[in-house]
Amino acid sequence: MPLHIKRLIGVFAIFIALFLVMRQVLRPSSFGELGHFRAKAIYENTLRPMHYTVADSCTKCHKDIRSDKDLGFHFRLKCEVCHGPGLKHALYANQFKNKELPDSLILYKPGERKDCAICHNLNRARIKIQFDTINTTMVHMVNVMKHHVTDPKTKEALKCIDCHNPHQP
């Protein structure tokens, strides 16, 4: 074999060895176990904090509201739809029985007209919703900004929840 070919083979061998060493050093430990990615990243993705709980954890304590809600049209709605994420409240509010809750545990109480309008305002896109054979879903639509805005006797501004109980509309 000519000398220059031997030298070339040597140079190639050095390059390949260098590549293997660098690959070993630079590659993350779990890379390639399941595919072209770090297998550990799957576990890391499960570590994020939760904010929403499940409906059952609300009704464990708020039994009266559940019995209210089961009779009304809002029986399918979960508490967090209106009140916002409540995992912290569900976990820690028990410790504050007969005491005042700290601000971070108090959930949002929607009562303004715009809160009801999010689902119930007039919109042509909502009209086609009909009774389904499997699930009954239908939303009652009113012109929220014109529907009984003031009390006819006292002339005071009215909120939706002054007449309609949101738990049992």
Binding site: F31, G35, R48, L77, A125, I129, T137
Partner: protein, 255 residues
């Protein structure tokens, strides 16, 4: 025809035949390794294979899903960053199409077109399609985004270099660059909730149960029941992304 041309064509015939035969042989030996083309295994694999169903007929456009997604996953509150959002399609009598999504639908929708001009109008909730042959994972130069065995497309935040290739590759516009982290962020189908046996936040919160979530491999799952009983379709089927987000009552206007 003289003798020469016959000789030549016979030689060409053997040449072409050899090339064809060797090509077939090579392709058939490589066939078992076509898994390299797709990161996740195709449907029919064992275990869970998650899919999503959305009933457009039931969506009332309350935007609670978009809001829940932002709260659950700490998505920036600015109106440019969404993992999940709702669009309001309005088709006018003259045939023109108007698509609106003010703040992703979180603050509710208003119909900007007078009722007399509307032919029809509907809401379309959008989110990551969790494609089985996702274009976004194929373009990643460092392997920072991948499909899990359950068919969920995830991002490795610690490995992403923020090159934005995947943002451009996604045909559904479901990825964004997180302004603080500088890495890409997308719907994880609330992977942290799934692993605890809970539903993703947007499915948990939907007031009309327009969103159905389930295992496509389980013939008794709610999702398979939904798919059997409705005319379901994916968005942009011609792109062959293997999308697993099925819409009932999807019309061709939706892109």
């Amino acid at each position: 025809m003289n003798e020469d041309t016959i000789k030549l064509s016979r030689r060409n015939f053997f040449k072409a035949g050899t090339v064809l035969a060797s090509g077939v042989a090579i392709a058939s030996t490589l066939a078992p390794y076509d898994g390299l083309l797709f990161a996740a295994e195709a449907p029919g694999a064992k275990g869970k294979w998650y899919g999503i169903g959305i009933d457009i007929n039931k969506c009332i456009g309350c935007g609670k899903c978009a809001n829940a997604c932002k709260q659950e996953n700490n998505v920036p509150k600015d109106p440019f960053y969404f993992r999940s959002w709702v669009e309001q399609y309005t088709i006018k009598n003259d045939g023109s199409i108007l698509v609106e999504s003010p703040n992703g639908g979180i603050d509710g929708f208003k119909q900007s077109v007078p009722d007399n001009d509307i032919y029809k109008s509907f809401f379309v909730p959008k989110m990551c399609n969790h494609c089985a042959k996702s274009p976004c994972t194929q373009v990643c130069p460092v392997g920072a985004t991948f499909e899990t065995e359950e068919g969920i497309v995830l991002v490795d935040e610690n490995y992403c270099i923020g090159c934005r290739y995947c943002v451009q590759a996604c045909p559904y516009g479901c990825r964004y660059i997180h302004p603080e982290k500088g890495t890409v962020d997308k719907c994880t189908l609330c992977f942290h909730r799934l692993k605890k046996g809970l539903q993703p936040a947007c499915f948990e919160i939907c007031p009309t149960e327009a969103r159905i979530f389930g295992d496509l491999n389980d013939p008794k799952s709610k999702l398979n029941y939904f798919l059997k009983n409705h005319n379901c379709m994916v968005i942009k089927p011609h792109l062959n992304t293997g999308s697993k987000l099925f819409y009932n009552a999807l019309t061709p206007e939706v892109r």
